[in-house]
């Protein structure tokens, strides 16, 4: 569960990215976070990922107060929060299999378990046939599938995706959102998708949190008109 209580974030240059924001996301929920550029969405993600610390307030994720997390404990915390970005961030010299396996290697997963899990997630994101391909041999949609596979390889409880369809055409975007729905259903992962794309929000209706000027402008339940 994610619980954001009166969280504000003021950067060193004085920019107030978040202003006493409050929200709650239940386990296994699927939520869109929408808002214009500079509204504070990315800062919210960074706080949830443990990259930034709130200036005030509390961000509790899976019972952990992210703001008071010690530096050395951040990596352990991150194993429960998968993050996917618009630009995929795959390692170009590693194959699809190795890119996904990498996430398991760094947390010392035994080799046998690692192979099994990589095959499992590649099948889940429907890219098993490309497991020996290198990222530059894949389309944007395929690369995003690999990035998603890597993010869920460690079975995180929460998966955050920052503009995951930003570089994709509408058909591929639709496929990627369907994939998130599948992960949500099959892996019981809480999904938070940050997006500008109203089209996908309408095609795959879920709860929508609108952020504007560092505040929650609206929190719309699934099916509400946008």
């Amino acid at each position: 569960m994610i619980k954001i209580e009166n969280v504000s974030k003021v950067y060193k240059n004085g920019t107030r990215a978040l202003d006493r924001i409050n929200l709650e996301v239940q386990d296994e929920e699927f939520v869109y976070i929408v808002g214009s550029t500079g509204s504070g969405k990315s800062t919210l993600i960074k706080i949830l990922d443990g990259e930034e610390v709130p200036s005030s307030g509390k961000a509790i994720v899976n019972g952990v107060d992210v703001g008071s997390l010690r530096f050395s404990k951040v990596p352990i915390y991150r194993r429960n929060v998968g993050v996917v970005f618009q630009d995929y961030r795959l390692l170009p010299r590693k194959t699809v299999f190795e890119n996904v396996a990498y996430a398991l290697e760094v947390v010392d997963t035994p080799k046998q378990v690692l192979r099994q899990r990589v095959r499992e997630v590649l099948k889940l994101v429907d890219i098993s046939d490309k497991s020996n391909a290198f990222p530059d041999e894949l389309s944007g949609g395929q690369q995003q599938r690999v990035a998603i596979a890597r993010a869920i390889a460690n079975r995180p409880k929460i998966l955050i995706a920052d503009e995951p369809t930003g570089n994709l055409d509408p058909r591929k975007s639709d496929e990627i959102i369907s994939l998130f729905e599948k992960i949500n259903a099959e892996e019981h992962t809480t999904i938070l998708i940050v997006t500008h794309d109203v089209g996908i929000v309408r095609h795959h209706p879920k709860r929508v949190i609108m952020i504007e000027s560092g505040n929650v402008a609206a929190d719309l339940p699934k099916g509400a008109k946008i």
């Binding site: 990922d49 443990g50 990259e51 930034e52 610390v53 530096f71 050395s72 951040v74 990596p75 352990i76 915390y77 991150r78 194993r79 998968g82 993050v83 961030r89 390692l91 990498y102 996430a103 290697e105 760094v106 947390v107 010392d108 080799k111 890597r150 993010a151 390889a153 460690n154």
Partner: protein
């Protein structure tokens, strides 16, 4: 655990290979620094040996009054009780006369002086050895305070000045070695900084999927150690072969006055020290670099 260890080693070598140009240029810079460090270590240790032997050879001659009422043993125990005295030798006036004659190689001069033996102007003397050159002055004062001692001779101000100069050179050598070590650390630090920048995506991914800082850090530390190790190989050869050559061609002494330390095993210890310094500066250079990078990012 072993799998992880070998993984870090493999990744370290991989990183070295991936940035081989940069790594080799850094290793070359380290190499030059280590050659200088090696030269200063050899110089400093030789100076140390030299000053120690000069200090050891500094003695005082305490001439005993002819009309003394004390026995040789009584006087000797008084002198031995002086703080800083290492040991004392007693020379009779005849022995002192012989020593004096021995300073002349010319047989004519020797036979001329020999005629004075019956009218020996020398006095019985105690030769006092100090534990350190620094104690000479206080021992001299203490000897002069003994009633039965007539006169006390030391090597004069020039001896003190020489010891002081050699001491300062020794300290300067040590300081230079330390400064050069810092320079080598800085060179490796910069190389690893560039390596980190070029691998920032990989580091980001590692951290993003929950790799601990130690896991992120380890391959860079290995890479730094490899650079330091490679940078030490040529300096080791230069120092070992150079010193052995210098020793054999000079016959073990420079300018016929300053004796060099015997090369075996001395120079191999210096070579191992250089290897150790190379590895340690490689480790620290990369440690500081990765530490600074990781500290800035949660």
């Amino acid at each position: 655990m072993f799998r992880r260890f070998f993984h870090h080693i493999k990744e370290g070598f991989y990183g070295f290979g991936r940035h081989i140009g940069m790594a080799l240029s850094s290793a070359s810079a380290v190499m030059i620094t280590l050659i200088l460090i090696g030269l200063f270590i050899v110089l400093t240790l030789n100076l140390y040996a030299m000053t120690s032997s000069i200090e050891d050879s500094i003695t005082l001659s305490a001439l005993v009054k002819d009309e003394t009422s004390l026995t040789e043993e009584e006087l000797q125990s008084q002198i031995e009780a002086i703080s800083g005295v290492d040991y004392v030798e007693y020379h009779t006036k005849d022995e002192e006369f012989d020593y004096y004659l021995d300073t002349y190689n010319d047989p004519d001069l020797r036979s001329f002086y020999e005629t004075y033996r019956d009218d020996n102007p020398f006095k019985n003397a105690f030769i006092v050895y100090a534990r350190s050159g620094e104690d000479i002055q206080t021992i001299k004062t203490a000897l002069e305070a003994i009633d039965d001692i007539d006169e006390v001779y030391d090597g004069g101000d020039n001896t003190y000045t020489l010891v002081e100069i050699l001491d300062n050179v020794r300290i300067a050598g040590g300081t230079l070695v330390a400064a050069l070590c810092i320079l080598a650390i800085y060179l490796i630090y910069n190389t690893i900084k560039i390596t980190i920048a070029s691998r920032s995506d990989e580091i980001w991914i590692m951290r993003n999927v929950g790799a601990k800082n130690g896991y992120v850090r380890a391959p860079f530390l290995v890479e730094g150690i490899i650079i330091g190790f490679i940078g030490a190989i040529i300096p080791m050869l230069v120092i070992v072969l150079g010193y052995i050559y210098l020793y054999s061609t000079s016959g073990g002494s420079l300018f016929g006055a300053f004796s060099l330390i015997y090369p075996y095993p001395f120079i191999f210890y210096v070579a191992l020290t250089l290897l150790g310094i190379g590895v340690v500066v490689g480790f620290f250079g990369s440690y500081i670099s990765v530490f600074k990078y990781l500290r800035l990012r949660r």
